[in-house]
Symmetry: C2
Subunit: 295 residues, 2 copies
C-alpha cells in the first residue's frame, strides 16, 4: 500500500520507519538531515504535502498542534489539493476534538475518509512499536487502516465516531496529569512528615494507590531524574486543549485547572522542559521544601 507520512519529528520518524520496514511504499515530504535515513531505508521523498497525497492511499499526519494540522490539510500545496475520492486521512497528532470534527467534515466532502488516531506511549513506544492508539471514525475506515496501525502500536481501540479518539487522548492527559499531582502530594506529605518516601512508595504499590504513575513517575520524583520523558510544556498544551474544550462544553474541570496552575508554576521557575513528574517541584516551592526525595 502507498502510505503518506507527514510530520517527521521525534515521534513521526520511528513510526514512519516501522511502515517502511513493514513493506509499504512510504511517501515523505520535508525530509531533512535527521530523517534522511528513512529515504535510505526505502522511503520516497517528494516536495510537498500535495504530492504526498497524490501518490498515497492513506495519508498519516503526526504534527504538533491544531493549527499545524489545519495548515497542512488546507494550506497552499497542502494535502486537500492532492486528494481524490477514496483516500483516507489519518491524523495521529494530539489536537482539539472540536476542531477535528470540522476538519473531518471538510475532508468527507472531498469523498475521503477521516480517522483521528492520537497515541500515547511517547518516543519509547514509537521506537518499540508499542504505542496505544485511540481511534475515532467510521468502522470501515478503521478496518482499512488497522494493519497499518498494528505496525506502530499494540493497544489499538476504535473508541467511537470522529473526534472520539482526540477526546480519549484529552481524557488520558487529564488523568495522567492529575495522577502525577496525586503521587506528588502523597510522597511530599510522607517526606515532610519524616518518613522515607521510597519506603512509602514501596508499601503503597499493590494496593488501591498503585498506578503506572506511582511506579514510574513516583520513582522519578524520589530519584530526582527529571529529564524527559514527556515535557511539562507539552502537557501544558494538552491541558489547555482540555480546559478550552471544557469551556466550550460548559464543563467545569476544577482539578485539571489546578494541575495546569502547578505546571504554570514549573514554567515560571524555568522547569517547563523537565519531565512532567517535575510537577512535584511546584509543590516543593509552595512548601519551601527542598525535595520530595529527602527522608
Amino acid at each position: 500500500m502507498n502510505i503518506g507520512f507527514i510530520g517527521l519529528g521525534v515521534m513521526g520518524r520511528p513510526m514512519a520507519q516501522h511502515l517502511i520496514e513493514g513493506g509499504h511504499t512510504v511517501l515523505l515530504n520535508r525530509v531533512k538531515d535527521v530523517s534522511q535515513h528513512l529515504v535510505e531505508k526505502g522511503g520516497q521523498a517528494v516536495a510537498t504535502a500535495r504530492e504526498v497525497a497524490e501518490a498515497s492511499d492513506i495519508i498519516i499526519l503526526m504534527l504538533p498542534d491544531t493549527p499545524d494540522v489545519e495548515a497542512i490539510l488546507f494550506g497552499s500545496d497542502g494535502v486537500a489539493e492532492g486528494l481524490s475520492s477514496g483516500k483516507t486521512i489519518v491524523d495521529m497528532s494530539s489536537i482539539s476534538p472540536v476542531a477535528t470534527k470540522e476538519l473531518a467534515s471538510k475532508i468527507n466532502q472531498l469523498g475521503c475518509g477521516y480517522l483521528d488516531a492520537p497515541v500515547s506511549g511517547g518516543e519509547g513506544g514509537a521506537i518499540a512499536g508499542t504505542l496505544s492508539i485511540m481511534v475515532g471514525g467510521e468502522q470501515s475506515d478503521f478496518d482499512k487502516v488497522l494493519s497499518v496501525f498494528e505496525l506502530m502500536g499494540k493497544n489499538i481501540t476504535l473508541v467511537g465516531g470522529v473526534g472520539d479518539g482526540q477526546t480519549a487522548k484529552v481524557a488520558n492527559q487529564i488523568i495522567v496529569g492529575l495522577t502525577i499531582g496525586a503521587v506528588a502530594e502523597g510522597l511530599l506529605f510522607a517526606s515532610r512528615a519524616g518518613a522515607d518516601p521510597a519506603k512509602v512508595r514501596e508499601a503503597l504499590m499493590g494496593g488501591f494507590a498503585s498506578s503506572k504513575i506511582l511506579e514510574v513517575h513516583g520513582e522519578r520524583m524520589i530519584k530526582r531524574t527529571f529529564d524527559p520523558g514527556f515535557r511539562i510544556s507539552l502537557h501544558q498544551k494538552d491541558l489547555n486543549n482540555a480546559l478550552s474544550a471544557g469551556r466550550s462544553l460548559n464543563l467545569p474541570l476544577p482539578a485539571t485547572a489546578q494541575c495546569q496552575e502547578l505546571f504554570n508554576t514549573c514554567a515560571a521557575q524555568g522547569d517547563g522542559e523537565l519531565d512532567h513528574s517535575g510537577l512535584v517541584k511546584a509543590l516543593e516551592t509552595m512548601a519551601a521544601h527542598k525535595t520530595a526525595g529527602e527522608a
Copy 2:
C-alpha cells in the same frame, strides 16, 4: 502466643478470626452478638481492656479514630493499667501520625514496645487475609510481630520508625482520593464531549493513565454502582487527618484540599455513605450533568 485483640468491628472481626485459626490464644473484650462466633471458635472473652493487656504478650488495636485509641490505652480500666514490661502494643487503626508518636513515647516509658500498623484493602482484604500492612516502629518489635501480621496480610512493609506506618497510610489515602478525582474528571470530560466513557476507559487501560482506581472505581462510575466499598465519610476522616497533619507540618496540600471539598459536596447532597467513587457525583452536580455513565 497470647494475643489481645481490641476493636471487633467490620475489619477487626475477620482479622481476629485469622489469629484464632492460626493457633493463637486470642483475648477479646466487649464481645457482642456479632462477635460471639469468635468465642465459639476459641477466643477468650474478658471484661476490660486492662484484663486483655494483663493476659497478652501482644495487644492489637483496631479502632475508628485517634480519640478511641487514646481512650482505650490510657482510660480507666484501659490497656496501660494491665501492661508490664516486655509486652508490645500494635495499633492497626488509621489515626494521626503526630498523635501516634506521643502515644508510643508513653507506652515505651512503661517498658513496652509500640508499632503503628494501619492497613489497606478494606473488608474484603480483611476476610481474605490479604491486607497491605504499613508498619512504623523498631525492627526488633517488627520481627516479633511479623508472623502475626502474616496471618492477616500479604504486603507487609516496615516503612520506618514509629509513626511512619500512619504517615504511609495518610499518603495512601491522599493518592487514592486524588486518583479517584483524576479518573472522575477524565471520564466526565469524555462523556460530556460525546464519547462513550466505557470505551475511553478501555482505550486508556495499559497506558500511563492506568491504575487500580481506573480499573475498579472507573468501572463503578460508569456502571453507577456506588454501594461501598469504602465510604466517602471515612475518606473525609482520612483527608481531615492529612490536612490537619499538613497544617501542623507547614505543608500546603492544594489538591487534597480540593478533593476534600468535593467529598464535602457529596456529603451535602446526601451521598456521604456512598463508595468514594461517588466523588464523580460532586463534579456532575457542578456540571449540571446527569451521569458520568451517559454516552
